[in-house]
């Protein structure tokens, strides 16, 4: 699924940087009914992780009350040049990944 990632392309060593992520997902709560009364099954993202050069630096659990197309922003310290890897997993075997590079000077 489409994802929008905002990581600064460059940073100085030791800088605190903000990472912003937005991904496509309907986040169906599992509490709604169709017009004919059937329950719409839950279909949400349940977990998000961010790895910085292989080390997990951020993790979040997501729940039914979170809006569609979840937006998450968090901070980390720029230590070395490399890659941020993002992974969203959820109901019905849902999995989506994205990555972004950073140059640390």
């Amino acid at each position: 699924m489409a994802a929008l990632i905002n990581v600064p392309a460059k940073a100085r060593r030791g800088d605190v940087i903000e990472i912003r992520t937005l991904t496509s997902h309907i986040m169906e709560t599992g509490f709604r009914h169709t017009a004919d009364g059937r329950l719409v099954p839950r279909d949400i993202i349940t977990s998000f992780t961010c790895r910085y050069n292989g080390t997990e630096i951020f993790r979040a659990d997501l729940f039914p009350a979170i809006a569609a197309n979840p937006y998450l922003s968090f901070f980390t310290v720029a230590k070395e040049s490399g890659k941020f890897e993002f992974e969203w997993t959820g109901d019905n075997g849902y999995s989506s990944t994205a990555s972004a590079s950073i140059t640390v000077e």
């Binding site: 929008l4 905002n6 937005l22």
Partner: protein, 259 residues
């Protein structure tokens, strides 16, 4: 002297209702953006936090994907959308010769699918149709709206204006009663805007997804307890055309974010 003054007063009085019910002067036209809070504005302004951009990205993928029995992609005829689709959405709905009436951007996409790609039409409000029309309309971002200038669509603009002024539904309200006469006030907690369709298809936080102007119009119609026109109905297209011509000169914002 009094006689002439009386005539002058009478003329003014006769002209007054036309002015009161009149349209918003061009310099007073404001996008719905101007009515929003700073948080929603910030969400729209940053392309990495604007959820409408997710649909634009999907549309970009669909643009180059071959489809239908003709095995053609949009890009096979239109090339790079950044050039070919630049500013196009600002003049839609536009007149279609074969149909003999104006068509919306969504309808244009489906006409292209039927005539050139030999593909089945995408259903209204389906993700793919919204993504394609968001991608195309995004190429017009910042371009001033010019829809309704084509002489061939003038009668349809007039039809749309009549519908805009027409009271309807159990609440017996016309579009104009809120969007010309009472903008800047509030309906429950929500600001009443001028109803300028600058950013469609747009992401409404209430919808949790992107939606077309037709969906917005149908919501308003349900709101006044009227029977909403079906998607693609000539009345909805006429209304859409009138609204776009009423917003002439305002820049396109697709994909806009609204509460």
């Amino acid at each position: 002297m009094n006689f002439w003054r009386a005539i002058a007063v009478a003329t003014l009085l006769a002209a007054a209702p036309a002015l009161l019910a009149g349209e918003i002067a061009p310099e007073a036209r404001r996008s719905g953006y101007a009515f929003m809070g700073p948080d929603t504005r910030a969400m729209q302004d940053d392309d990495t936090s604007n959820p409408g951009m997710l649909f634009v990205l999907d549309g970009e993928t669909l643009w180059t994907k071959k489809t239908g029995s003709a095995e053609k992609a949009c890009a096979d005829c239109h090339g790079d959308a950044r050039g070919s689709m630049q500013g196009v959405a600002a003049r839609y709905p536009a007149f279609d010769k074969t149909q003999g009436r104006p068509v919306t951007l969504d309808q244009r996409i489906n006409l292209c699918r039927a005539n050139h790609q030999q593909a089945t039409p995408l259903p209204y409000e389906s993700r793919d149709l919204l993504a394609l029309s968001a991608f195309v309309a995004h190429q017009a971002r910042g371009v001033a709206i010019t829809a309704g200038e084509d002489p061939q669509v003038k009668p349809f603009v007039e039809q749309g204006r009549d519908l805009f002024m027409q009271r309807e539904g159990q609440l017996n309200l016309a579009c104009t009663n809120c969007h010309d006469d009472n903008f800047d006030k509030h309906l429950a907690g929500a600001p009443i805007t001028q109803g300028q369709p600058t950013g469609y298809p747009m992401y409404r936080l209430e919808w949790q997804t992107l939606g077309s102007l037709e969906r917005r119009l149908r919501s308003c119609m349900s709101g006044v307890r009227a029977q909403a026109y079906d998607y693609g109905a000539p009345e909805l297209v006429a209304l859409e055309l009138f609204l776009m011509s009423r917003a002439r000169g305002l820049p396109m914002e697709t994909p806009a974010v609204r509460p």
